[in-house]
């Protein structure tokens, strides 16, 4: 027997120090091997993608970085560039105010729409993020009147009386709505109409000659401001109208059902551009030349009607997705129709409808550029009309349209991101 232990040549007494993994199994190399070059097909695709990125960047980067910001005309831009590739951003530097506010909005009043735009974020925040204190909704309710006063100016009494009408409506609804929703709603509407009638009469009498904020007619609005105004107004108006239409379409009462069905199907069967032409062209025949309804209002009505019909169908989809059990549960609790809708059905149906509603809202926001066809100078109208038609800037396409695309992208991407957050926030199922 021999002592085996003494014959062992080497015993590892302490652990081998940790060595870094081989460079092919960790770090960027591994990541690249896993994600970019995990097979000959993927390697090929990676190389192709890299090449595509290179081609795009080598085309656009010199153009972007060489951009000329200081020039008076396209010809001067070209002189400065002297044959090199480069963008002529000077057009944005010179005409940014026209792109944002239109060419007729008084330059010394730009602070007013800007302030209204900033306040918009304060106003929509409590609606969008319901973790914020509910008291902020007070400001949201006031915001339309503040924004109207800021953008259009004129006498302060018109927004005040408009607000008073809605306040009266709300008070009557509070009083009567406890017993009957319908009674409260229409009673309130009647009272509001009376307040507005008296208000318009008084406003005409007491409006000062020189209002505190200079009045700006609707015709002078333009640029991206017009797109934002149309988009925000029409989306916020068309969601409640769309809900009402969707409920009306599901109603058991034949008259209401028929009205809603005909309305939705008719509006959905007509292109938006047709409705806009009706608003701008046909209605002018029906009113005397002096007393037309404001063009902005006409367009708002038409776009709202259009998107309300679409939103109604989206919400109907949400309502249809709810199991019958939910309706029956509401009935079995003894809730009446408005209560059942408000407390049980709509919260679930609207949650299901979020992607569809956002889809309509984004589409609607981009559709507001269609008003350039009826000679309103929204962002696209400004570019296609006055700016490209000026002798200095005729021929600058990429810079202007790229700028417009950027503005629209920022807003639409924002809406999309918000809706995804909202869906995550509202997720109660176990997907």
């Amino acid at each position: 027997m021999t002592d085996t232990s003494s014959q062992i040549a080497f015993v590892q007494k302490e652990p081998i120090p940790e060595s870094p993994p081989p460079s092919t199994a960790a770090g960027p190399v591994k990541w690249m091997r896993d994600n970019l070059f995990s097979g000959w097909l993927n390697s090929l695709l990676t190389l192709a993608a890299l090449w595509a990125i290179y081609v795009i960047l080598s085309g656009t980067l010199p153009w972007l970085l060489n951009g000329v910001w200081n020039a008076d005309s396209l010809a001067e831009c070209r002189e400065i560039l002297n044959g090199k590739t480069g963008a002529c951003f000077a057009v944005l530097a010179e005409r940014w105010n026209q792109l944002l506010f239109g060419f007729k909005y008084p330059a010394d009043l730009y602070w007013r729409p800007t302030l209204a735009f900033v306040l918009l974020f304060v106003a929509v925040a409590p609606v969008l993020f319901f973790d914020l204190p509910r008291k902020l909704l007070m400001f949201t309710a006031l915001y339309p009147f503040i924004a109207f006063y800021l953008i259009w100016g004129g006498t302060i009494w018109s927004p005040i009386f408009a607000l008073a009408g809605f306040a009266a409506w709300y008070m009557v609804f509070e009083r009567l709505g406890k017993n009957s929703f319908v009674q409260g709603f229409f009673g309130g509407a009647a009272v509001a109409a009376i307040v507005w009638g008296i208000g318009s009469f008084i406003t005409g009498a007491i409006a000062p000659e020189e209002p505190f904020l200079q009045a700006v007619p609707s015709r002078d609005l333009g640029g991206f401001m017009l797109n934002m105004m149309l988009g925000v107004t029409c989306v916020s108006l068309s969601i409640p109208i769309g809900i009402v239409l969707a409920l009306g379409r599901q109603s058991d009462m034949p008259l209401i059902k028929i009205i809603c069905v005909v309305f939705i199907e008719f509006i959905r069967g007509v292109p938006l551009i047709t409705l806009l032409f009706v608003a701008s062209v046909m209605l002018a025949y029906f009113f005397p030349p002096d007393s037309t309804v404001d063009l902005f209002l006409r367009v708002v009505i038409m776009i709202t009607v259009f998107s309300a019909a679409y939103i109604a169908e989206v919400i109907r989809g949400g309502l249809a997705a709810l199991p019958t059990g939910q309706y029956e549960a509401a009935d079995s609790l003894g809730l009446d129709y408005p209560q059942a809708m408000r407390l049980i059905i709509l919260p679930q149906a609207l949650k299901i409808s979020i992607p569809g509603i956002v889809n309509v809202a984004v589409g609607l926001f981009k559709d507001t550029t269609l008003v350039s066809v009826i000679s309103m100078f929204d962002l696209l109208g400004m570019i296609r009309g006055p700016i490209l038609a000026s002798t200095e800037w005729n021929g600058v396409y990429w810079e202007l349209l790229g700028f417009a695309a950027l503005l629209f992208f920022v807003v639409c991407y924002g809406i999309s991101q918000y809706s995804q957050w909202l869906e995550r926030r509202l997720a109660t199922d176990h997907r």
């Binding site: 005409r95 060419f103 007729k104 032409f277 062209v281 002018a284 000679s375 296609r384 038609a389 002798t391």
Partner: protein, 338 residues
């Protein structure tokens, strides 16, 4: 009996309506502003500048009329119209006159019930080709690819021209002028055809305008002029004679520079009648004696307006061509002020 009363009432109502519809001059004076329809933007003809101030060849007509009627060339509310909204805007009374490079055609005059008061620009469809192509006449364009805006009269004119000359072409349909510029520059077509003024304006925006030529052939007639509604001849006269005053002023050598001394009285009786120192032309028109003087001072005579907005010294660089005075071989021929 009953029927005749009814018809009588109808007639009275009709007359009252006509009376209410008439009197655009008075409407404009009462309003203190002329509502003038212009394009939403066309290089050289009408476009607002960086300060939102409208300028251009068509705009000058509006300013002239405003100066004649209201005494202030700035008293104009410019109502931008598109090709689709322009006629309804005029017919519905939203605008008092339309000065929007609109071609005077039979159907627009007769069927749409407008009165074209004259022609302020004689346009016509032309061709633009790159110089490298080595073409000097449109008749050498056999087999060429042609960029053409769809759905316009230019498309029909082009087909007629090529058929009557027995040559073939391949159309490249495009939607807008902007698209046409890009297509043409990218070489998608050999030839671009549209109104000659538009071609010149387009060429002016190219990096190297000298590398492109306009062919001498003009294949259609496009007389562009201001128009008003049917049914108010007094107003039509005001606009017509304001335009004629601008044209006559050039013919008689009255410019915005020398109008001051001319208005003091000259030994040319027609100038005196035009500027109101002799005769009662203004009164006949329902305006004061100096109406034409103010119209000319607003932007100069026709020649000055042309030179300032679209003439050879501007980037657009249009030659007078057909738009020269009749004394210089053009078509501008104002009836006499007598």
């Amino acid at each position: 009996m009953k029927k005749s009363v009814f018809l009588g009432a109808l007639t009275v109502a009709g007359l009252a309506a006509a009376a209410a519809a008439a009197g655009t001059v008075d409407d404009v004076k009462a309003r203190g502003k002329l509502n003038c329809g212009v394009t939403t933007g066309l290089v050289g003809f009408a476009a607002p500048d960086a300060n939102g101030e409208w300028n251009g060849f068509d705009v000058a007509v509006c300013r002239g009329v405003a100066a004649a009627v209201l005494g202030d060339p700035a008293a104009v509310e410019f109502v931008p119209t598109t090709g689709k909204t322009r006629f309804t805007a005029l017919a519905s009374g939203e605008i008092d006159m339309l000065a929007r490079n609109t071609t005077w055609t039979f159907s627009r005059d007769v069927d749409l019930k407008f009165t074209f008061v004259g022609v302020n620009y004689y346009d016509g469809q032309g061709f633009m080709v790159p110089k490298d192509l080595g073409v000097s006449s449109a008749k050498e364009l056999d087999g060429a690819t042609v960029c053409i805006q769809t759905g316009t009269t230019t498309e029909l004119n082009l087909a007629d021209f090529f058929r009557s000359n027995n040559i073939s072409y391949e159309p490249v349909p495009i939607e807008t002028n902007a698209e046409a510029q890009q297509q043409y520059l990218a070489g998608a077509c050999d030839v671009y055809t549209t109104d000659a003024s538009g071609l010149a304006a387009t060429r002016a925006t190219f990096e190297d305008p000298a590398a492109h030529v306009l062919l001498p052939e003009i294949i259609s007639k496009e007389p562009l002029g201001p128009l008003v509604r049917h049914g108010d001849n007094e107003w039509g006269d005001v606009v017509r004679w304001t335009l004629n005053a601008l044209i006559t002023a050039e013919e008689l050598g009255v410019t915005s520079a020398n109008i001051g001394e001319m208005a003091a009285g000259t030994n040319n009786p027609e100038i005196n009648r035009l500027l109101g120192t002799e005769g009662t032309l203004g009164e006949m028109l329902g305006l004061d004696a100096e109406w034409a003087k103010r119209a000319i001072m607003a932007g100069g005579n026709y020649g000055e307006i042309f030179a300032k907005n679209i003439g050879e010294d501007t980037p657009i660089g249009l030659a007078r061509g057909l738009n020269a005075q009749w004394t210089e071989g053009g078509l501008l021929y104002s009836p006499p002020f007598r």
